[in-house]
Protein backbone atom coordinates (compact mmCIF):
# COMPACT_ATOMS: atom_id res chain seq x y z
CA UNK A 1 0.00 0.00 0.00
CA UNK A 2 2.84 2.36 0.82
CA UNK A 3 4.40 1.78 -2.57
CA UNK A 4 1.19 2.87 -4.33
CA UNK A 5 1.19 6.13 -2.40
CA UNK A 6 4.82 6.66 -3.27
CA UNK A 7 4.15 6.27 -6.99
CA UNK A 8 1.23 8.70 -6.99
CA UNK A 9 3.13 12.04 -7.19
CA UNK A 10 5.31 10.63 -9.95
CA UNK A 11 2.33 9.66 -12.07
CA UNK A 12 0.70 13.09 -11.71
CA UNK A 13 4.00 14.79 -12.51
CA UNK A 14 4.32 12.95 -15.82
CA UNK A 15 1.28 14.62 -17.38
CA UNK A 16 2.43 18.27 -17.30
CA UNK A 17 5.70 17.33 -18.94
CA UNK A 18 3.82 15.86 -21.87
CA UNK A 19 1.94 19.13 -22.25
CA UNK A 20 5.11 21.19 -22.19
CA UNK A 21 6.75 18.94 -24.73
CA UNK A 22 4.02 19.46 -27.31
CA UNK A 23 3.96 23.21 -26.78
CA UNK A 24 7.75 23.36 -27.00
CA UNK A 25 7.81 21.55 -30.34
CA UNK A 26 5.06 23.74 -31.75
CA UNK A 27 7.07 26.79 -30.74
CA UNK A 28 10.37 25.53 -32.06
CA UNK A 29 9.42 23.89 -35.35
CA UNK A 30 6.84 26.59 -36.17
CA UNK A 31 3.89 24.21 -35.91
CA UNK A 32 5.31 21.89 -38.57
CA UNK A 33 3.71 18.96 -36.78
CA UNK A 34 0.19 20.33 -37.21
CA UNK A 35 0.53 21.20 -40.91
CA UNK A 36 -1.29 19.14 -43.48
CA UNK A 37 0.81 16.65 -45.48
CA UNK A 38 0.39 18.58 -48.77
CA UNK A 39 1.90 21.77 -47.27
CA UNK A 40 4.66 23.18 -49.48
CA UNK A 41 7.21 24.68 -47.10
CA UNK A 42 9.91 25.08 -49.77
CA UNK A 43 8.04 27.47 -52.08
CA UNK A 44 5.75 28.86 -49.42
CA UNK A 45 7.72 29.18 -46.19
CA UNK A 46 6.19 30.91 -43.22
CA UNK A 47 6.53 34.69 -43.64
CA UNK A 48 9.08 36.14 -41.24
CA UNK A 49 9.36 39.77 -40.20
CA UNK A 50 12.52 41.24 -41.63
CA UNK A 51 15.17 42.75 -39.41
CA UNK A 52 16.25 45.46 -41.85
CA UNK A 53 14.17 47.27 -44.52
CA UNK A 54 14.95 47.06 -48.23
CA UNK A 55 17.99 48.98 -49.40
CA UNK A 56 17.33 52.44 -50.80
CA UNK A 57 19.46 55.12 -52.42
CA UNK A 58 19.21 58.87 -51.94
CA UNK A 59 16.89 58.27 -49.04
CA UNK A 60 13.97 56.71 -50.85
CA UNK A 61 14.71 55.16 -54.30
CA UNK A 62 14.75 51.35 -54.15
CA UNK A 63 18.13 49.80 -54.91
CA UNK A 64 16.43 47.26 -57.20
CA UNK A 65 15.67 50.01 -59.71
CA UNK A 66 19.37 50.72 -59.99
CA UNK A 67 20.09 47.00 -60.29
CA UNK A 68 17.54 46.86 -63.10
CA UNK A 69 19.62 49.40 -65.04
CA UNK A 70 23.04 47.88 -64.30
CA UNK A 71 22.82 44.86 -66.60
CA UNK A 72 21.69 47.07 -69.50
CA UNK A 73 23.42 50.41 -69.08
CA UNK A 74 26.19 50.00 -66.51
CA UNK A 75 26.71 51.83 -63.26
CA UNK A 76 26.03 55.37 -64.47
CA UNK A 77 22.90 54.37 -66.40
CA UNK A 78 20.29 55.09 -63.77
CA UNK A 79 21.81 58.45 -62.91
CA UNK A 80 22.01 59.37 -66.57
CA UNK A 81 18.40 58.33 -66.99
CA UNK A 82 17.27 60.23 -63.95
CA UNK A 83 19.14 63.39 -64.81
CA UNK A 84 18.02 63.16 -68.42
CA UNK A 85 14.40 62.70 -67.41
CA UNK A 86 14.60 65.62 -64.98
CA UNK A 87 16.21 67.80 -67.60
CA UNK A 88 13.54 66.85 -70.10
CA UNK A 89 10.71 67.50 -67.66
CA UNK A 90 12.12 70.87 -66.63
CA UNK A 91 13.15 71.89 -70.11
CA UNK A 92 9.74 71.21 -71.59
CA UNK A 93 8.12 72.69 -68.52
CA UNK A 94 6.19 69.52 -67.86
CA UNK A 95 7.53 70.08 -64.41
CA UNK A 96 6.86 73.72 -63.79
CA UNK A 97 9.02 75.59 -61.29
CA UNK A 98 6.51 78.00 -59.83
CA UNK A 99 6.93 79.66 -56.44
CA UNK A 100 6.02 76.49 -54.52
CA UNK A 101 9.00 74.71 -56.08
CA UNK A 102 11.41 76.90 -54.15
CA UNK A 103 9.42 76.42 -50.96
CA UNK A 104 9.70 72.71 -51.51
CA UNK A 105 13.41 72.98 -52.25
CA UNK A 106 14.12 74.85 -49.02
CA UNK A 107 11.95 72.43 -47.05
CA UNK A 108 13.81 69.52 -48.66
CA UNK A 109 17.20 71.04 -47.72
CA UNK A 110 16.05 71.57 -44.14
CA UNK A 111 14.64 68.06 -44.05
CA UNK A 112 17.87 66.50 -45.33
CA UNK A 113 19.88 68.49 -42.82
CA UNK A 114 17.58 67.42 -39.99
CA UNK A 115 17.76 63.77 -41.05
CA UNK A 116 21.54 63.84 -41.28
CA UNK A 117 21.89 65.66 -37.98
CA UNK A 118 19.22 63.98 -35.85
CA UNK A 119 18.82 60.70 -37.71
CA UNK A 120 21.44 58.55 -35.99
CA UNK A 121 20.43 59.61 -32.47
CA UNK A 122 16.73 59.10 -33.26
CA UNK A 123 17.46 55.70 -34.83
CA UNK A 124 19.39 54.65 -31.73
CA UNK A 125 16.60 55.76 -29.41
CA UNK A 126 13.87 54.14 -31.52
CA UNK A 127 15.81 50.89 -31.88
CA UNK A 128 16.11 50.75 -28.10
CA UNK A 129 12.37 51.38 -27.79
CA UNK A 130 11.60 48.68 -30.37
CA UNK A 131 13.88 46.23 -28.56
CA UNK A 132 12.12 47.09 -25.31
CA UNK A 133 8.66 46.60 -26.76
CA UNK A 134 9.79 43.33 -28.42
CA UNK A 135 11.13 42.09 -25.11
CA UNK A 136 7.83 43.04 -23.48
CA UNK A 137 5.85 41.17 -26.12
CA UNK A 138 8.09 38.10 -25.92
CA UNK A 139 8.14 38.14 -22.13
CA UNK A 140 5.13 35.86 -21.76
CA UNK A 141 6.43 33.36 -24.30
CA UNK A 142 9.97 33.41 -22.91
CA UNK A 143 8.57 32.99 -19.44
CA UNK A 144 6.48 30.02 -20.55
CA UNK A 145 9.52 28.42 -22.21
CA UNK A 146 11.67 28.98 -19.14
CA UNK A 147 8.89 27.61 -16.97
CA UNK A 148 8.56 24.54 -19.17
CA UNK A 149 12.31 23.97 -19.02
CA UNK A 150 12.29 24.35 -15.27
CA UNK A 151 9.39 21.92 -15.11
CA UNK A 152 11.28 19.41 -17.24
CA UNK A 153 14.29 19.72 -14.94
CA UNK A 154 12.07 19.32 -11.89
CA UNK A 155 10.43 16.30 -13.51
CA UNK A 156 13.84 14.71 -14.09
CA UNK A 157 14.68 15.28 -10.45
CA UNK A 158 11.33 13.76 -9.51
CA UNK A 159 12.05 10.73 -11.66
CA UNK A 160 15.43 10.32 -10.01
CA UNK A 161 13.66 10.63 -6.70
CA UNK A 162 11.18 7.96 -7.74
CA UNK A 163 14.08 5.64 -8.52
CA UNK A 164 15.51 6.59 -5.14
CA UNK A 165 12.16 5.70 -3.60
CA UNK A 166 12.51 2.23 -5.13
CA UNK A 167 15.88 1.85 -3.42
CA UNK A 168 14.45 3.21 -0.26
CA UNK A 169 11.66 0.67 -0.40
CA UNK A 170 14.11 -2.15 -0.97
CA UNK A 171 16.00 -0.96 2.07
CA UNK A 172 12.79 -0.71 4.05
CA UNK A 173 11.73 -4.17 2.96
CA UNK A 174 15.10 -5.51 4.05
CA UNK A 175 14.70 -3.70 7.29
CA UNK A 176 11.28 -5.26 7.84
CA UNK A 177 12.69 -8.69 6.99
CA UNK A 178 15.42 -8.14 9.54
CA UNK A 179 12.89 -7.11 12.12
CA UNK A 180 10.80 -10.19 11.37
CA UNK A 181 13.89 -12.37 11.68
CA UNK A 182 14.80 -10.70 14.94
CA UNK A 183 11.27 -11.17 16.27
CA UNK A 184 11.31 -14.83 15.19
CA UNK A 185 14.60 -15.45 16.95
CA UNK A 186 13.44 -13.64 20.02
CA UNK A 187 10.39 -15.86 20.14
CA UNK A 188 12.55 -18.94 19.65
CA UNK A 189 14.63 -17.85 22.63
CA UNK A 190 11.49 -17.23 24.61
CA UNK A 191 10.12 -20.67 23.79
CA UNK A 192 13.43 -22.20 24.78
CA UNK A 193 13.62 -20.33 28.07
CA UNK A 194 9.97 -21.03 28.89
CA UNK A 195 10.39 -24.73 28.20
CA UNK A 196 13.56 -24.79 30.25
CA UNK A 197 11.77 -23.02 33.07
CA UNK A 198 9.01 -25.62 33.10
CA UNK A 199 11.47 -28.53 32.94
CA UNK A 200 13.52 -26.95 35.74
CA UNK A 201 10.34 -26.70 37.73
CA UNK A 202 9.66 -30.40 37.23
CA UNK A 203 13.20 -31.24 38.26
CA UNK A 204 12.87 -29.05 41.32
CA UNK A 205 9.55 -30.63 42.22
CA UNK A 206 11.07 -34.10 41.99
CA UNK A 207 14.09 -33.03 44.02
CA UNK A 208 11.90 -31.57 46.70
CA UNK A 209 9.75 -34.68 46.77
CA UNK A 210 12.78 -36.94 47.05
CA UNK A 211 14.20 -34.79 49.83
CA UNK A 212 10.96 -34.92 51.68
CA UNK A 213 10.73 -38.66 51.25
CA UNK A 214 14.31 -39.12 52.36
CA UNK A 215 13.84 -36.96 55.41
CA UNK A 216 10.65 -38.70 56.23
CA UNK A 217 12.24 -42.14 55.96
CA UNK A 218 15.21 -41.01 58.02
CA UNK A 219 12.93 -39.52 60.64
CA UNK A 220 10.83 -42.61 60.66
CA UNK A 221 13.87 -44.88 61.06
CA UNK A 222 15.22 -42.68 63.83
CA UNK A 223 11.92 -42.49 65.56
CA UNK A 224 11.45 -46.29 65.40
CA UNK A 225 15.03 -46.90 66.55
CA UNK A 226 14.52 -44.52 69.47
CA UNK A 227 11.31 -46.25 70.28
CA UNK A 228 13.08 -49.61 70.18
CA UNK A 229 15.79 -48.53 72.62
CA UNK A 230 14.91 -49.41 76.29
CA UNK A 231 16.28 -47.70 79.46
CA UNK A 232 18.34 -50.81 80.24
CA UNK A 233 19.91 -50.82 76.91
CA UNK A 234 20.59 -47.16 77.32
CA UNK A 235 22.24 -47.67 80.62
CA UNK A 236 24.27 -50.60 79.24
CA UNK A 237 25.34 -48.54 76.35
CA UNK A 238 26.25 -45.63 78.59
CA UNK A 239 28.33 -47.85 80.83
CA UNK A 240 29.89 -49.44 77.77
CA UNK A 241 30.73 -45.98 76.51
CA UNK A 242 32.27 -44.92 79.79
CA UNK A 243 34.30 -48.13 79.78
CA UNK A 244 35.44 -47.38 76.28
CA UNK A 245 36.43 -43.83 77.22
CA UNK A 246 38.35 -45.13 80.19
CA UNK A 247 40.24 -47.69 78.13
CA UNK A 248 40.98 -44.98 75.60
CA UNK A 249 42.25 -42.66 78.30
CA UNK A 250 44.45 -45.44 79.63
CA UNK A 251 45.89 -46.12 76.27
CA UNK A 252 46.58 -42.42 75.71
CA UNK A 253 48.30 -41.93 79.10
CA UNK A 254 50.56 -44.90 78.41
CA UNK A 255 51.51 -43.31 75.16
CA UNK A 256 52.19 -39.95 76.78
Amino acid sequence: MLSRIALKPVRSAIQPIRMTQTSATSNAASAATTESPERDLVNFPRPVRQEYPGKVRMGFIPDEWFQFFYSKTGVTGPYTFGLGLATYLCSKEIYIMEHEFYTGLSIAIMGIYAVKKLGPATAKFLDAEVAKSDAEMNAGRDMAIAEAKARIAAEKIEQDRALGMKMLFDAKRENVALQLEAAYREQLVKVFSETKKRLDYQVEVQNVQRNLEQRHVVDWVLRSVRAAVTPEQEKATLSQCIANIKSLAQQNTVRI
Binding site: E51, Y52, P53, G54, F60
Partner: protein, 108 residues
Protein backbone atom coordinates in the same frame (compact mmCIF):
# COMPACT_ATOMS: atom_id res chain seq x y z
CA UNK B 1 -14.26 34.86 -55.32
CA UNK B 2 -16.71 37.08 -53.56
CA UNK B 3 -16.01 40.29 -51.73
CA UNK B 4 -13.85 39.80 -48.61
CA UNK B 5 -12.78 36.27 -49.47
CA UNK B 6 -9.33 34.86 -50.11
CA UNK B 7 -8.26 34.49 -53.77
CA UNK B 8 -9.54 31.30 -55.38
CA UNK B 9 -6.00 30.06 -56.00
CA UNK B 10 -5.09 30.26 -52.31
CA UNK B 11 -5.15 26.86 -50.60
CA UNK B 12 -4.33 27.03 -46.89
CA UNK B 13 -3.34 23.35 -46.84
CA UNK B 14 -0.57 23.96 -49.35
CA UNK B 15 0.30 27.63 -48.80
CA UNK B 16 0.06 27.89 -45.05
CA UNK B 17 -0.76 31.23 -43.43
CA UNK B 18 -2.06 33.84 -45.87
CA UNK B 19 0.46 36.42 -46.98
CA UNK B 20 -1.38 39.45 -48.41
CA UNK B 21 1.77 40.47 -50.32
CA UNK B 22 1.88 37.23 -52.28
CA UNK B 23 0.28 36.17 -55.54
CA UNK B 24 -0.90 32.58 -55.15
CA UNK B 25 -1.80 31.93 -58.79
CA UNK B 26 0.54 30.66 -61.46
CA UNK B 27 3.53 33.00 -61.61
CA UNK B 28 4.14 34.90 -64.86
CA UNK B 29 7.41 36.52 -65.95
CA UNK B 30 8.31 39.55 -63.84
CA UNK B 31 7.77 42.87 -65.60
CA UNK B 32 11.49 43.68 -65.32
CA UNK B 33 12.39 40.46 -67.17
CA UNK B 34 9.88 40.92 -70.02
CA UNK B 35 11.39 41.61 -73.44
CA UNK B 36 9.95 44.58 -75.33
CA UNK B 37 8.54 42.40 -78.08
CA UNK B 38 6.66 40.27 -75.62
CA UNK B 39 5.29 43.25 -73.71
CA UNK B 40 1.95 43.35 -75.55
CA UNK B 41 1.28 39.65 -75.00
CA UNK B 42 2.39 40.06 -71.37
CA UNK B 43 -0.06 42.96 -70.95
CA UNK B 44 -2.80 40.93 -72.64
CA UNK B 45 -2.33 38.25 -70.01
CA UNK B 46 -2.97 40.68 -67.12
CA UNK B 47 -6.19 40.39 -65.17
CA UNK B 48 -7.76 43.80 -65.78
CA UNK B 49 -11.02 43.10 -64.00
CA UNK B 50 -11.91 45.23 -60.97
CA UNK B 51 -10.96 42.43 -58.58
CA UNK B 52 -7.70 41.80 -60.40
CA UNK B 53 -6.62 45.42 -60.33
CA UNK B 54 -7.60 45.95 -56.70
CA UNK B 55 -5.86 42.70 -55.79
CA UNK B 56 -2.69 43.87 -57.53
CA UNK B 57 -2.78 47.20 -55.74
CA UNK B 58 -3.36 45.43 -52.43
CA UNK B 59 -0.46 43.03 -53.01
CA UNK B 60 1.78 45.95 -53.98
CA UNK B 61 0.79 47.85 -50.86
CA UNK B 62 1.57 44.89 -48.64
CA UNK B 63 4.82 44.15 -50.41
CA UNK B 64 5.86 47.73 -49.77
CA UNK B 65 4.68 47.43 -46.18
CA UNK B 66 6.69 44.25 -45.56
CA UNK B 67 9.76 45.59 -47.27
CA UNK B 68 9.96 49.16 -46.01
CA UNK B 69 7.43 49.78 -43.24
CA UNK B 70 7.24 46.60 -41.15
CA UNK B 71 10.89 45.56 -40.61
CA UNK B 72 12.31 45.94 -37.15
CA UNK B 73 14.98 48.55 -37.82
CA UNK B 74 13.11 50.71 -40.27
CA UNK B 75 14.59 54.00 -41.47
CA UNK B 76 13.03 57.17 -42.76
CA UNK B 77 12.83 55.77 -46.32
CA UNK B 78 9.11 54.77 -46.31
CA UNK B 79 8.10 58.22 -45.05
CA UNK B 80 10.19 59.91 -47.75
CA UNK B 81 8.61 57.56 -50.28
CA UNK B 82 5.14 58.52 -49.07
CA UNK B 83 6.07 62.20 -49.25
CA UNK B 84 7.49 61.92 -52.76
CA UNK B 85 4.49 59.86 -53.88
CA UNK B 86 2.11 62.44 -52.42
CA UNK B 87 4.04 65.23 -54.12
CA UNK B 88 3.72 63.54 -57.50
CA UNK B 89 0.07 62.67 -56.87
CA UNK B 90 -0.94 66.18 -55.91
CA UNK B 91 1.19 67.68 -58.63
CA UNK B 92 -0.73 65.69 -61.23
CA UNK B 93 -4.00 66.66 -59.53
CA UNK B 94 -3.08 70.34 -59.67
CA UNK B 95 -1.44 70.14 -63.05
CA UNK B 96 -4.30 71.98 -64.76
CA UNK B 97 -3.72 75.02 -62.55
CA UNK B 98 0.07 74.70 -62.57
CA UNK B 99 0.08 75.03 -66.34
CA UNK B 100 -0.66 78.76 -66.06
CA UNK B 101 2.65 79.32 -64.28
CA UNK B 102 4.69 78.28 -67.30
CA UNK B 103 7.43 80.66 -68.33
CA UNK B 104 7.42 79.46 -71.92
CA UNK B 105 6.87 82.16 -74.53
CA UNK B 106 7.96 80.99 -77.92
CA UNK B 107 8.39 77.23 -78.14
CA UNK B 108 5.68 74.72 -77.49
Amino acid sequence: MAWGEYPASYNPNVHGPYDPARFYGKADTALAKVKLGELTSWLARRDLSLGGISGGISRGFWRWQHKYMQPKKVGIAPYVQITVGAMIFFYTLNYGKMKHHRNVKHHW
